[in-house]
């Protein structure tokens, strides 16, 4: 039995310890905002926060989740997160939208530890998240907009 917190709620997992976190979130908790896209941690569509750090939930086994605090797109509530989502809408970032939960989770994690990231720091934080619609320019604009507003 593995106990963990998801979006501030205590959860218990009793299944296969090899099962990646993503499928626990999606299928058992019905938190479907985090997406499956590659299954090898190469695209970032499944990004969630693990003790505040962005991780690829498709490649994190449940066996590593004991005592973990997980946050998903559905559980975003911090002022930084709210600002990021607002900036995302203001810049009209989304196209197909499938990768955007992961993009937002990576951006929120970045801005929560560094509200004034440099261009290079933004690159490093976001390079693990593929957007096949290539909304990258607007993602950058939204991150910069959030950074400006959070610093104001």
């Amino acid at each position: 039995m593995i106990k963990l917190k998801v979006n501030d709620q205590q959860k218990v997992f009793r299944g296969d310890p090899d099962q990646p976190l993503l499928w626990f979130l999606r299928e058992e908790l019905s938190l479907t905002g985090s997406k499956y896209a590659c299954g090898i941690g190469a695209c970032g569509a499944c990004t969630v926060h693990f003790n505040g750090v962005p991780v690829r939930s498709c490649s994190m086994p449940m066996s590593a989740m004991s005592g973990a605090e997980i946050r998903t797109i559905e559980g975003l509530a911090s002022p930084v997160a709210k600002q990021v989502q607002m900036s995302w809408q203001e810049m009209d970032v989304v196209q197909c939208g499938y990768c955007q939960s992961g993009q937002i989770m990576s951006a929120v994690a970045l801005l929560e530890r560094n509200t004034k990231p440099s261009s290079k720091e933004i690159d490093e934080a976001m390079d693990g998240n593929i957007c096949r619609c290539a909304t990258y320019q607007r993602i950058r604009a939204a991150i910069e907009d959030s950074s400006d507003k959070l610093g104001a």
């Binding site: 296969d16 499956y36 190469a42 499938y98 096949r132």
Partner: protein, 730 residues
Amino acid sequence: MDMPLKLFNSANESSLENQSRRQFIKACAASGALIVGAGYLPITSAEQSSRGKHRDALVFNAFVKITPDNRVVVVIKHLDKGQGVTTGLATIVAEEMDANWSQVGWEFAPADATKYNNLFWGPNQGTGGSTAIANSWQQLRNAGAAARAMFVNAAAKKWGVDSSAVTVSDGFVKSSTHRASFGELIELALKEQAPETPTLKSAGQFRLIGKKIPRIDSPEKTTGQATYTQDIQLENMLTALVLYPPQEGGVLVSFDDSAAKKIDGFHAAFKIPKGLAVLATSFWAAKKARDAVIAKWDLASCETRSSEELFKNYRKVAEKAGTAVTQKGDVEKELAHSKAGEHIVEALYQLPYLAHATMEPMNCVALVGDSSCELWFGSQSPTMDQHDASQLLGIAPEKVVINTLFAGGSFGRRACPNDYVVDAIAIARQIKNRPVKMVWTREDDMLRGKYRPMAVHKVRAKVSSKGGISAWHHHSVAQAILRGTPLEGLINGPVEGTLTEGIHDLPYSTASLRVEGTELPSTTSGLWWRSVGHSGNAFAVECFVDQLAHAVEKDPLEFRRALLQGQSRYLGVLNLLAEKADWSKPLPKGHAKGIAVHKAMGSWVAQLAEVSFDKEKNLQVDRVVCAVDCGIAINPDIVKAQMEGSIGFALGAVFGEQVTLEKGVVNQKNFDAYTPLRFSQMPKVEVHIVPSAEPPTGVGEPGVPPLTPAVANAVFALTGKPVYSLPIEL
């Protein structure tokens, strides 16, 4: 125009109702709302989403429904796979109705070609070829204006005034003394006859069209609430993975699932035509079970060659004569000799297979009953999918209900007939009356073929030192996408159009022109990839134009302008580009720029790329400027977003995207080897729209073709070496 008045809960609607659908209702903890089967989209909530079935809505016509609480619901007959048509199509209706944008909602149309066919595709409902806005433009203006007229006439009668004294603005119907919302007037308005030819606005009266309106799907897509096929959860649903052969065309000989049966959650394993379906109660159990199956395959009919061997053959064929598609003047005679001041230039261009690699791998939820079938997925060709399902199951097409959902990208992949949807149905029919979600892993998605065909272009031309072209000979060699498929009948002419689109109608002035194509058969399947044949054809044409300009020492822009005299819309985008991008201003040392222009799907796009090398001598694209003429830009910000996205999408093919075969086996199985553009590779993109009063044309695809040649031409300018193939290897 046919404007049948029908209440929402009419026979048509209730025919969608059936026992199975009510059976599969399950609370979705994610959204706190219901996930509802059959004909009902899983919705978030009215507050969070503008979308969803509005059950109390009254039907004014096929595209306009209005609720008593004053919501205007636009029925969207096209799939939104990211290109933003939900916003664009709803805008057209809202404009002509004079609705307030905040009251506008939407829902995807059911599969029904009698109402929702693509007007450019005859009796077929579908999304593709960047036609969604273009084919809907007049249809939706009429639908909106007709509904508006019904409200005006109803109000005039109610208030005892002439209809000319009634106006509509911002969602309110008004006279000098009265004011009412649409919701307040719906019962009366529904009694009015819809005008057959409603009065449309003039462009000067537009309040929404041409303005920046936020995407209607933005809130749900930034909060994780948008529902894709992958997110559908139905009660008692099983997840199916398919063990496919390691190569396209392989056939399952035998299998041993004894180890799979021991996996917790395993449900069943059985053969379907394309492989072995493995079903379980969860994705993870299905995947583990599939991994545990031992299968034997007959691969005798599969490809055995490597990409390099295939290309070698393509090049050989390209050097020979092909089937003529366009013939003007005597090209051979012209190319047989050259005088002083004339240059004969030749080049051979090579393009690899490319994968769509949508972020959401192909998937489909299917529920097959005794004489019914219900599907949930991002259906790009609903009536074709409906037809396939009905054929497969031996039931009437109208017994197949399709619930269209957002697609996590398509780029053409979901338009494929007879493919993943058929597999999902083949599985569901064997476990009747129980819903099954068939999902492809990324590896399945990468290995199941349907690639943008590889191609080789051999081009020869004669150019004079004054800049005139007297002969252009072009031979395009590729596989035909539709040859040998059920859609082969769509091939018009001796060579499939994709091989020579954008070439056979070469816009550049030339005294003689011969365009040839040769279709080479392949066991690796091809498919329409964002901008289809244009994606590679523009690369060959526009790189070659720069080589011609270079041969006669002309400026690439001036060279093009001179050869495009009288082609006002080509010149329009080139001129706007030159002005906005400061074409004549030199760049610092170590930087260079290149341009390209191309027309595809009815829109003209010119692009300028600036390139340089980074410290590690890697090519980087620093900036792309884009000019587009798509007629009236319904939503300029979405037009810009589509150009930005197309540029980034195409740039992946410059930097490294390609599907290659090794002894017939695909090398790229996941995003570690197949490499779409990454965040830090995205250049600064500026998009400029040519002001236009022409009817709107597409923007989903036309931004793709000019990008690769613009970059290649910039690399040519930087290094002095022409680029002959993609991805660019230096």
